[in-house]
C-alpha cells in the first residue's frame, strides 16, 4: 500500500513527497492540538506544558504507566518523625543534560523557584512551610499539618539545575518578559531539547547520560502542534506523522479500519458534570420564573438529573466510548467511593413528578451555559441535554462560547446552569472536594471552582480532616460521607468520564496514561 503510493508520487511529481517516506524507523513524529506555551516547568500549570516537559525534566517522584507514584530523582521517601513532613532520599550519580551533577541544592532551588510568586505551580506547595537540605542527597519537606498525599501531589514538580538557571538569569520563572528557560531546557530526563520553534516544531533527542533504563528506540522526536483535528488526522493517514493525540472520537472507527493504523482508547480521569446556581436568589435567563431560583430545591436538581438519558448520549454522541459517572472522580482513582457508585437513572416521568412536587408542574425556563472548545463534543452534549431537559418541561436556553470567555462568565455568576469538566490534579478525591465542593473561601483558597457555591457545613468540616488523615480506611469513610452528601443534595450532576482517544501507526508501541500525558520514553518503533 505504502510502496505503491510512493511510486505513484515519484512518477507524478518527482521528489515532492517528503514526510510520507519517513521510513527512518527511529525518527518519531507526533502531533497534538496545543503547543506547550513555554519550556519553563514552573511558569504555567497546564497539561500541554507539563506533559511535554515530563520528557525533558524530572521530579522527585513520577507516575508509572498505571498512574501510581514511583521514585524518580528520589529513590525513596518516608514521613518525618517528630514533625509533619516528608524526607526524600535522592538518587546519586544523576546529571543534568549539560553535565552538571544533581544534588539536594537543586531540589531546594527548584522548590524556591516553583513556590515563588512568579510561578504558576506554587499552589502545589501551599502546605509546605520549609524545605531543608540534610545532606547532598537528602531533603526534608516540612508541612504545616500531616499530609499523607504530599508525594503524590508533586509528581509534576520538575527539578532545574541551580547553576544553570542562575547563570542564565532564569532563577525565577518569566512573568512578563521571556527568560532563558522559556525557550531552553536543561533537565535530567530521558530526552533533551534539540530545537524549538514555538507553534511550529519542537525537536527532542535522547539524553545519552540518562540514569534510567532506556526502553524506547527513538533517536529523534519531532513534535508539531496541529490545531485542526481533521488536518491532524490527514497528517496521520498520509504518513507524515506517526502518532496524534487526541483524535475526534467519531473518527476512531474509520482509523481503526485502515491498514497500518491503530487506535488507543481509554478513559481520561476527567469527569464532565452540570453545575447548579445554589447561591443565586433568582434565575438570570428565565422567561417565566423571575422571582425565585427553582434549583435551590433539591427536587428540581434531582429532576434535572433524571432528565438526562446518559445511554443515548453515549450511543449517539460518543459512540459507546464513555463511562457514566456517579461522582466527581472515575472508579480507580484513590478516594473513589465504591458504596456511592449508583447514579440517578434516566426517568423522565419521575423528573416531571419531582418538578410538580417542587411547584413547577409546567416546568420553567432557564439558561444553560456551555463551552464549545473545551471538552470532547461539549457543544453537542449540551444541545442534547437541552433537548432532554425540554422533554420534561425544563426549557433550557442554551448559550455556548469559547472557553476564553466562558470562565469569566462563570466567575461572575452569569449562569443558571453550567457545564464543567474536572480532572483531579492529584488523582485523588480530595482534589475535587477542595475545588468544587467546599464553600467558596478566597482567603483559604478553597472552593475556587465551586461557581454555584454549593455549601455544606459537614463537607467543609470534613475536608481538612480528609487532607490530614493518615489512616486510609478512616479517610475513605470520610470521603464516602462527602460523596453521599453531595449525591443526596445533588450538588452536581456527574455525567460521564471523558474518553481518551489516540491514534498511531501500527508499528508504534506506546503507553496511554490516564492523565493524557504522552511520554516518549515508552515509545518503540518497529
Amino acid at each position: 500500500m505504502k510502496t505503491s503510493r510512493i511510486t505513484k508520487a515519484t512518477l507524478l511529481v518527482g521528489t515532492i513527497l517528503v514526510g510520507a517516506s519517513a521510513a527512518n524507523a527511529e525518527t518519531f513524529r507526533w502531533a497534538s492540538t496545543t503547543d506547550p506555551q513555554t519550556m519553563d516547568p514552573h511558569a504555567v500549570n497546564s497539561a500541554p506544558v507539563l506533559s511535554f516537559l515530563n520528557n525533558v525534566y524530572e521530579g522527585l517522584v513520577r507516575r508509572d504507566r498505571g498512574m501510581s507514584i514511583e521514585g524518580s530523582l528520589a529513590e525513596s521517601w518516608e514521613p518525618l518523625e517528630g514533625e509533619n513532613g516528608w524526607r526524600f532520599n535522592l538518587r546519586e550519580g544523576v546529571t543534568f543534560a549539560d553535565g552538571a551533577a544533581f544534588t539536594a541544592e537543586d531540589v531546594l532551588f527548584s522548590y524556591q523557584r516553583a513556590s515563588n510568586e512568579a510561578a504558576d505551580v506554587r499552589s502545589w506547595f501551599s502546605p509546605v512551610t520549609d524545605v531543608r537540605v540534610v545532606d547532598d542527597y537528602t531533603v526534608d519537606f516540612i508541612t504545616s499539618a500531616p499530609n499523607p498525599l504530599f508525594p503524590d501531589s508533586i509528581a509534576n514538580f520538575m527539578i532545574l539545575d541551580k547553576d544553570w538557571a542562575e547563570t542564565n538569569d532564569a532563577a525565577l520563572p518569566a512573568t512578563d518578559a521571556e527568560n532563558f528557560a522559556t525557550m531552553n531546557a536543561n533537565g535530567t530526563g530521558p530526552f533533551m531539547l534539540s530545537s524549538r520553534d514555538p507553534g511550529v516544531q519542537t525537536v527532542l533527542v535522547p539524553n545519552p547520560n540518562w540514569w534510567g533504563e532506556v526502553e524506547h528506540n527513538v533517536t529523534e522526536g519531532i513534535f508539531t502542534p496541529i490545531g485542526n483535528s481533521a488536518t491532524g488526522l490527514a497528517a496521520l493517514l498520509s504518513g507524515e506523522i506517526d502518532f496524534i493525540q487526541p483524535i475526534p472520537l467519531q473518527d476512531a472507527a474509520q482509523v481503526e479500519e485502515r491498514d497500518g493504523y491503530s487506535v488507543l482508547e481509554g478513559e481520561e480521569t476527567r469527569v464532565i458534570m452540570f453545575g447548579f446556581p445554589h447561591e443565586h436568589d433568582t434565575l438570570l435567563y428565565s422567561t417565566d420564573v423571575t422571582d425565585a431560583n427553582p434549583f435551590q430545591d433539591v427536587r428540581v436538581r434531582q429532576a434535572a438529573a433524571h432528565a438526562i438519558d446518559i445511554d443515548a448520549i453515549d450511543r449517539v454522541l460518543f459512540r459507546g466510548k464513555i463511562e457514566p459517572a456517579s461522582q466527581l472522580v472515575p472508579a480507580g482513582i484513590s478516594g473513589y467511593s465504591e458504596e456511592n457508585s449508583d447514579r440517578l437513572g434516566y426517568d423522565p416521568d419521575r423528573a416531571k413528578e419531582l418538578l410538580a412536587e417542587a411547584g413547577y408542574p409546567d416546568g420553567f425556563s432557564f439558561g444553560l451555559k456551555c463551552p464549545n472548545d473545551r471538552y470532547i463534543n461539549d457543544e453537542a452534549l449540551c444541545r442534547a441535554a437541552a433537548s432532554m431537559f425540554a422533554a420534561v418541561g425544563m426549557d433550557a436556553e442554551l448559550s455556548t462560547g469559547p472557553v476564553r470567555d466562558y470562565w469569566p462568565q462563570l466567575r461572575e455568576d452569569d449562569f443558571d446552569m453550567y457545564l464543567l469538566g474536572w480532572s483531579p490534579g492529584t488523582f485523588d478525591m480530595e482534589h475535587p472536594i477542595r475545588f468544587l465542593k467546599h464553600t467558596q473561601d478566597d482567603e483559604k483558597r478553597l472552593g475556587s471552582w465551586n461557581f454555584g457555591n454549593f455549601s455544606n457545613a459537614r463537607v467543609d468540616e470534613l475536608l481538612p480532616l480528609i487532607q490530614q488523615e493518615v489512616d486510609l480506611e478512616a479517610r475513605q469513610a470520610m470521603i464516602d460521607e462527602v460523596v453521599a452528601i453531595s449525591q443526596e443534595e445533588m450538588a452536581y450532576i456527574p455525567l460521564y468520564t471523558q474518553p481518551l482517544i489516540w491514534a498511531a501507526k501500527d508499528n508504534v508501541d506506546m503507553v496511554q496514561r490516564a492523565d493524557n500525558f504522552f511520554l516518549l520514553r515508552w515509545v518503540t518503533v518497529e
Binding site: I6, K8, A9, L12, V13, I16, L17, V18, G19, A20, D35, Q37, T38, A43, V44, N45, S46, E117, D120, V121, R122, S123, W124, T175, D176, A177, E178, T182, M183, D197, P198, G199, V200, Q201, T224, I226, G227, N228, A230, T231, G232, A234, A235, L237, S238, G239, E240, D373, P402, R404, D405, W407, P408, R411, G425, F435, D442, R445, S448, W449
Partner: protein, 324 residues
Amino acid sequence: MAYFILKRLFQSIFVMLAVAFLAFSLFRFVGDPVSQMTGVETSVQDQEQLREELGLNDPFVVQFYRFTTDILKGDFGYSYRTRQPVNEMIASRIPATIELGITALMISLIVGIPAGVYTALRTRGFATQTILLTTLVGVSIPTFVIGIVLIFLFGVTLGWMPTFGRGGTVDLGGWTTSFLTLEGWSYLILPAITLGVYQLTLTMRLVRAEMMEVMRSDYIRFATARGIPQRKLHYRHALGNTMIPVITIIGLQFGGVIAFSIVTESVFQWPGMGLLFLESVRFVDIPVMGVYLVVIAFFFVLVNLVVDILYLMIDPRLRVKEAI
C-alpha cells in the same frame, strides 16, 4: 506626486491609529487573559494580582495610551502566552503569510485574467459555461471545506502533497522562503489554491464583465471597422481598458487575502500570522493580537497607496485634484 504621497502617508498614520484604537477596544471583550494564563489550581487572589501586574485593571484610556506609545517607541511587548517578544513572534511568521498571499494572488491573476478574457470573447461556448460554473461552485463552498477536501484528496488518497505545515523552507537572512525548493512549493500549493479560489473567481468575473463592456464600446467597434487585428484589439485595447477596476479590486483584496488566510492557515496548519492570531485569540493574548492588527493595517495602507499610485499612472484622466 510627492505631495500626493506625503498626504497619503499622513492619512495612513490616521488609519493605523484608528485601527489600533478599534483593535484595542475589542480586546476588552474577547475574554479574560488571566484565566487563560494560569492553571486551574491558581487561586483567585493570585489571578487578581497577575491582572494588576499586567495593567488590565487600569482604565481603558491608560491601557490604550500605553499600547500606542509602546508601539511608537518600537516596544511591541511580550506575549502573554509564550512570554516571547511579540515583534520576534510576528516577524518570524510574516514570510509564511506574505508568500502564501502572494502565491494565491498570482494564481488568481495568472489563471483569472486569461480565463476572464476567454470567457468574455466566447460568451456562449461550452468551455466558457464549464469554467464559469466550476469557479462559481468553487466559491460557493466554504474555504474550510475546500481545504479539507483538497488535503484528503491530494494528501491522503493520492499521496501527492503534504497535508500540513510549511516544510522545505530556505532561510534568506531572516526571511524563510518556500519559493526556492520544490519541496517548499509542494507545501505551498494546496493552501495557495484554497486561499486563491475566491480571488480567482472574482478576477475572472471582473475581467470578463469589463471586457464584454469594452468590446461593445464605440471605439472598439470603430477599431474593428478600421481593421485592427483581433488579437491586438483584444489584448492591447480591450484588456488594457479593463485593468483599472481589476487592479483596484484585486489590490484592495490583498488585505482581505492576508486576513482570510486565517482560515486557510488554520486548516493547513500553515505557520503564518493568521495561525498565530487565531492561537492568540484563543488564549486572549492581547499584545500579539494588537500587533497583528496593526501589522495587517500597515499592509493594507501600503497596498492601498500602491494601488492609488498605479491608478494615477494608468489613467491620466484621474490626475485631477478630486481623485486624490
